[in-house]
Symmetry: C2
Subunit: 183 residues, 2 copies
DNA sequence: ACAAATATACCTACTAATAGGTAGGTAAAC
DNA sequence: GTTTACCTACCTATTAGTAGGTATATTTGT
């Protein structure tokens, strides 16, 4: 992996573990054994770095959508929720959860990028739920987007709160979401 | 209101709007037209301030419990969820949501206080749900604590995500939680 | 093929601003 | 005369960010 990608990966992990305003360029430069100025060579500002991180997640989302496109709706949702479980086990929460918490400390440009990632995620979830409902896999009685909102906010909140209570609570909630859908 | 309480209130608002690691003592001192050192007179460290803020919320929770103790379970839940709506409209999220996001940047002492506030909130919600379920108001088929977890994480996530999407999404989710309970 | 030009990927050394925090003083109230 | 509620003046560490240098590749012109 090249230095640029390493910086993005480390920044991503730091944001999702400690939050945007709790990490500095020196956290990254120390870890990579390079100097502070070298990070500015790749990313002139911290804003430029967080935008690159969001854009990486936009690409990851597209790859995810592509990867699960042939699966049935139930498997799509299970895979989607699995993405959140994996990183949770290492103390990290999702990028959406972490960044929306710091939303008011961002420039308009970062806010716009975050909106795009959020809407892309929400739209995929809405479409997948609709598909599964029409095929008789899922059962709920409300707008598809509303159900998508409930699921995603439940996951974000669960990632957050289970830091304080118990990591196992996260898995309990995740199972409950799936059971509620296919009941 | 005395200066100490004003500092706590301002710190509380700043944490819930921008996050713990995005506010400084000077944000407070400028607003109150006092000097930085005067805040240290009341709170020797930033840690001491955040602990005082958590303890204020512990007291507020007790007052809330007392205030709604005579109401029926449905009204208790509606009032509980209203607390989250009120501050949300001013851009602030709940103290639980904001602080659990910064959990790994806190000292053990702050983490412990946050755990107490979280558990006290969760326990009240669990008991209230159980009461309402036994009296036939609420309908769900899982442990009471699990249902409490789902509700509270859903609200925390909704506060967060609706910053990015649309404030009205928060109210949609809140209504869905109530409808789901009494359906 | 070979030298010159240029781009890459860092570096040293610095800056201004801000962070949380401290030492010690003072004026007024109790 | 002690406590309260501030103050001035400072400190050290860290922050994001900049200016300009250098060694090593890579590309280009002859």
């Amino acid at each position: 992996m090249n230095t640029r990608d390493k910086i993005i990966l480390l920044g991503d992990n730091l944001i999702r573990k400690r939050g945007y305003n709790a990490f500095s360029f020196s956290d990254i430069s120390k870890e990579l054994n390079i100097k502070n100025a070298s990070i500015h060579y790749y990313f002139p500002t911290k804003t430029a770095l967080v935008i690159a991180i969001i854009q990486k997640h936009l690409i990851l989302l597209e790859k995810f959508k592509e990867k699960v496109s042939e699966k049935d709706s139930v498997q799509k949702i299970i895979k989607f929720l699995s993405v959140y479980s994996i990183t949770k086990s290492e103390g990290r929460i999702s990028i959406l959860g972490s960044l929306s918490n710091d939303y008011f400390t961002f420039t308009a440009e970062v806010q716009t990028e975050l909106k795009i990632l959020t809407n892309n995620t929400l739209n995929w979830l809405t479409d997948t739920l609709k598909e599964g409902r029409q095929q008789g896999f899922f059962h709920y009685d409300m707008e598809d987007r509303k159900k998508a909102l409930i699921i995603i906010t439940n996951i974000l909140g669960a990632e957050q709160l289970s830091r304080v209570t118990d990591n196992y609570d996260f898995h309990k909630i995740k199972e409950a979401i799936i059971n509620d859908l296919i009941k």
